[in-house]
């Protein structure tokens, strides 16, 4: 069982796009050799902004609901497991339906597309977290964009930040086991993900940049 007090927190702002998470992920025993984490470069021409995306482990996972094969199960400790190999029929429903864009249709190295006929996704390193260790990605992440620990530890180390785990996509609210960090003083109760549809990454997120040519 994943200890109840251990939680996953993501602060994508910190991400430096180094792909340590991606490289470490494929060292995890439950999916050795294939990486489940996504490291998305949003628009390199405009900005160096990147975002690491792990499975958010929804309370009512859309992926499991739309799975025609009952292949995706949520454990009692709240971890949404990767597709059961015997059941998954590689229909891609989960890949297309996940609001966070997490599941992968795994083709295997050098294999043709969907050669494995299997969906795979992040299972929060169940081999590690279920025995009290940290997930690979959150252990190695050099920026702290991915953090796994207790809520107290998080609050102590990150007094500017506050975790939220509610997301809004259009009319749909999704609650997750994994948290993202927003400014402590902001009034946000949920992250309105689809409101960012018109947004583009900024060259600098917080600071100031010289606009005109000197």
């Amino acid at each position: 069982m994943v200890p109840e007090k251990m939680e996953f927190f993501i602060d994508a702002n910190r991400c430096i796009g180094c792909k340590a998470c991606f490289q470490a992920c494929s060292e995890c025993d439950t999916h050795k050799g294939v990486s489940m984490i996504h490291l998305e470069t949003i628009d390199r021409e405009r900005s160096v902004q990147t975002v690491p995306v792990v499975c958010m482990h929804c309370e009512d996972p859309t992926c499991a609901q739309v799975c025609p094969a009952d292949a995706i199960k949520r454990t009692p400790d709240g971890v949404v497991q990767t597709a059961r190999k015997s059941r998954c029929i590689a229909c891609s429903n989960c890949v297309l339906a996940c609001p966070f864009g997490v599941p992968k249709m795994e083709s295997g190295r050098g294999a043709s597309v969907s050669g494995f006929n299997l969906m795979m996704k992040c299972d929060m390193c169940y081999d590690r977290t279920s025995v009290g260790k940290k997930p690979m990605c959150a252990t190695v992440c050099p920026s702290g964009a991915l953090f796994y620990g207790t809520r107290e530890q998080m609050q102590k180390e990150r007094p500017r930040s506050r975790p939220i785990n509610e997301f809004r996509f259009g009319q749909q609210t999704v609650k997750t086991k994994v948290n993202v960090l927003v400014p402590r003083d902001s009034a946000l109760e949920q992250l309105k993900v689809t409101d960012a549809l018109g947004s583009q990454p900024d060259i600098l997120l917080l600071g100031m940049y010289q606009e005109e040519e000197p």
Partner: protein
């Protein structure tokens, strides 16, 4: 004549770089592990703790080492995939002899015969042309034991003054400036001092890609309310989220620091008490920055004046701060001046030598700090001692059991060593852990020099591009195949543990050196049985020096996750933070915290001069070079690790959209970049995140992909660091990329 034996393509076909991906044992889930070895990463100067998984005499993976305080299990992709060097198909398992008739240009040679032939060739050259006709080039990724032994081997066994190392390309500007200002060459603080700083200033350091773990320290400080100022021609990943970004024109850092100091004086943001009590030379310096008005500073630096003033205000009014810099300000023909400028604003603020107040260069190589402490530098002896100082010579000569007069005098820097080869003064060369053909500027000149050598022996574990010129290649060891210590960017001396034995005929590098000494019939002083014995001698050699290791033992390091030098006795706990007000050091002897007889730091006038090669009509753009996250230095290792090479398989050209439009370049176009020295074809990346007057190319690749064929061999007159960060180029679009 040490020319390439066969065409580069044939060499590559036989000796790589080939890519190794996880397979076999690497992919076995639940493979039974023989042991986990607590050691450190083999790549950069952060020296993250890591545990290597060993099964069947092979490193097959890693496990985070969360107890090690510096990185707490954190790693970058290089550390994560380093294990793929184990069992690599390119690994040199025998000695090789140059043989143009062999398919790959080399044929295997029995190890004893290779040693005998190498020794004979060295002896022949030295008999005919004198001891100084043979040169040694060493590296800053070696353990301190090996670095120490290389210095001793050159001076005592080969009796040549000509030894230098690739730290010359790394942080010597910082080292030289630190010695001038503080009297000691070491980062002033442990990284934990970053955490409580109110202001963090990062100049010329792509922290996210070159020192990734430091990112976490910066963010932890931000969470406690710190502001972050980044000065860089490019918006690096950490810069994206900083509070104030100064997109400086390459090579103008000293002007900025002088401008900051000008405003500090004008607004009286100075720590007068500190300046009075702990420094000398402020008046002269103040006079010299009078001309650096914000207006002029902004103009020279290519910055908006408001940004300069804002930065000065934040720096001037902070109560705690940490200033870091790296190669961005050091790789210049005035690199030492740039660093002195940085040190000046630190000293003027009085924010050094106490908690949360710090200054450091971020060393680049695995043993970037330790590799420059114990005598493989051309002008230096162990313990940070000076080879031209008679007292220092006498101490070391005593330890080595030779007459002080028998020790050669100072040699020359690594680049000058090649000029001496070019001029025919040096006729033979031994290299270890150095790939100058890729890493030195104007590298076609370096290749021509290699061709001129009468005899060249290389020790390495993969056949790097320089070693391809060798007459004899001796199969050396990977980091995980030997014991020893290194010194991290923080000044923390830590233990490298042996995880496995060398495969095949490969030997630990220090054994190869000792075998050579024996074959040269001068084995005295090269009869160690274990790196621990070398370390014990190193400790004695460093005793009483500035870089005093005498109180450090392997056991002590392991018991306390490293020991910070100076550590002059076994009871001494080490010195995490330098320059604390009441601290004692061997030079000041209680007079003050800095390493001068009066204990006071030196303000040094930091003169601005532009890069040696300014842009002009013919070559109108500034080329700056740097690293990427997944590759390391000349790429000998990382270009062979499949998952890392895949992240960045080839170099590219970064241009701003405005410049791209002017040049008619679009993303993905092939561009021809030309300097006065050579030209290169690169794929274009159009990005907002670079100055429009500057283009960037990463430098990890060899041959046609090597940007160092274009860079300039201009060097700082003091540190001799090459000017990698600025030279003039022109760029045009190629209709049909070849």
């Amino acid at each position: 004549m040490s020319k390439l034996p066969v065409a580069p393509e044939q060499l590559e076909a036989h000796y790589g770089p080939h890519l190794q991906f996880p397979g076999g044992k690497h992919l076995q889930s639940g493979l039974e592990i023989d042991r986990l070895v607590k050691t450190h990463c083999c790549f950069c100067g952060q020296q993250c703790g890591i545990q290597l998984k060993v099964a069947h005499q092979q490193v097959v993976g890693f496990e985070p080492w969360e107890d090690f305080p510096f990185n707490r299990g954190m790693l970058c992709p290089k550390g994560i995939k380093r294990y793929l060097q184990g069992g690599h198909p390119d690994r040199l398992l025998t000695a090789l002899q140059r043989d143009p008739a062999a398919a790959g240009g080399f044929r295997p040679l029995e190890y004893p015969q290779a040693i005998a032939q190498t020794a004979a060739a060295i002896a022949k050259i030295q008999e005919q042309h004198g001891f100084a006709a043979f040169g040694v080039l060493s590296g800053a990724s070696l353990t301190s034991e090996k670095a120490y032994l290389m210095g001793k081997f050159a001076r005592v066994c080969l009796r040549t003054p000509y030894i230098d190392y690739n730290g010359r390309l790394c942080m010597v500007s910082a080292g030289a400036a630190n010695k001038k200002a503080f009297g000691v060459d070491r980062g002033g603080n442990p990284w934990s001092d970053i955490l409580g700083a109110e202001l963090i200033w990062i100049s010329g350091a792509n922290v996210a890609e070159c020192a990734p773990i430091t990112t976490h320290y910066v963010w932890q400080a931000r969470e406690q309310g710190a502001r972050v100022v980044v000065v860089d021609p490019r918006v690096t990943p950490l810069a994206r989220t900083c509070d104030l970004f100064l997109p400086i024109k390459p090579g103008r850092d000293v002007a900025l620091f002088n401008g900051i100091l000008h405003l500090m004086i004008e607004k009286d943001w100075l720590d007068h008490a500190f300046i009075e009590k702990y420094t000398v030379g402020f008046e002269k310096l103040a006079e010299s920055v009078r001309e650096w008005t914000p207006r002029r500073t902004a103009q020279v630096c290519g910055l908006n004046q408001k940004l300069v003033e804002q930065a000065a205000e934040w720096w001037g009014t902070a109560s705690t701060s940490f200033l870091m810099h790296a190669r961005g300000i050091e790789h210049h023909s005035h690199g030492v001046q740039n660093v002195l400028g940085a040190i000046n604003i630190v000293l003027a603020s009085g924010r050094i030598g106490r908690e949360n107040c710090g200054y450091s260069t971020i060393t680049g190589q695995a043993n970037g700090q330790g590799g420059r402490e114990h005598g493989q530098k051309c002008d230096q002896l162990p313990g940070g001692r000076d080879i031209s100082n008679p007292e220092h010579r006498a101490h070391v000569a005593g330890i080595w059991g030779v007459a002080p007069d028998d020790l050669p005098q100072a040699g020359v820097d690594a680049y000058e060593l090649f000029r001496k080869i070019d001029q025919g003064e040096i006729k033979g060369l031994l290299t270890l852990c150095f790939n100058p053909k890729v890493s030195l500027p104007d590298s076609e000149f370096v290749a021509r020099c290699l061709d001129k050598l009468e005899f060249y022996a290389a020790i390495d574990f993969f056949l790097n591009e320089t070693a391809q010129h060798a007459d004899i290649v001796l199969p050396g060891s990977l980091q995980e195949e030997d014991e020893g210590v290194v010194c991290s960017a923080e000044g923390r001396v830590i233990r490298i543990r042996k995880a496995i034995d060398c495969p095949g005929e490969a030997r630990q590098d220090w054994r190869i050196i000792q075998d050579l000494a024996a074959a040269l019939k001068r084995p005295q002083g090269f009869e160690f049985q274990h790196p621990g014995q070398i370390f014990d001698e190193l400790r004695r050699a460093s005793q009483g020096g500035v870089v005093d290791y005498s109180g450090i033992t392997y056991e002590k390091i392991e018991a306390s996750y490293g020991v910070f030098w100076p550590c002059p006795s076994e009871e001494h706990p080490g010195t995490p933070r330098l320059f604390e007000p009441d601290s004692w050091n061997v030079v000041a002897r209680g007079q003050g915290p800095f390493y001068f007889p009066d204990g006071k730091a030196r303000f040094q006038v930091a003169d601005y001069s532009p890069p040696q090669e300014e842009v002009d009509e013919e070559y109108p753009l500034i080329l700056t070079t740097g690293r990427v996250i997944s590759q390391f230095l000349s790429g000998t290792q990382t270009r062979r690790i499949g998952p890392l090479a895949e992240m960045h398989p080839a170099p590219w050209l970064e241009v701003h959209p405005q410049l791209a439009a002017k040049l008619g370049l679009k993303a993905g176009d092939t561009a021809l970049v030309e300097s006065r020295r050579s030209s290169i074809e690169l794929t274009t990346k159009v990005v907002n995140t670079i100055r429009p007057d500057t283009v960037f190319v990463p430098y990890h690749w060899a041959g046609r992909e090597s940007i160092n064929r274009l860079t300039i061999a201009a060097q700082d007159p003091i540190s001799k660091i090459p000017e990698y960060k600025a030279c003039a180029v022109r760029v045009r679009r190629l209709e049909h990329g070849s």
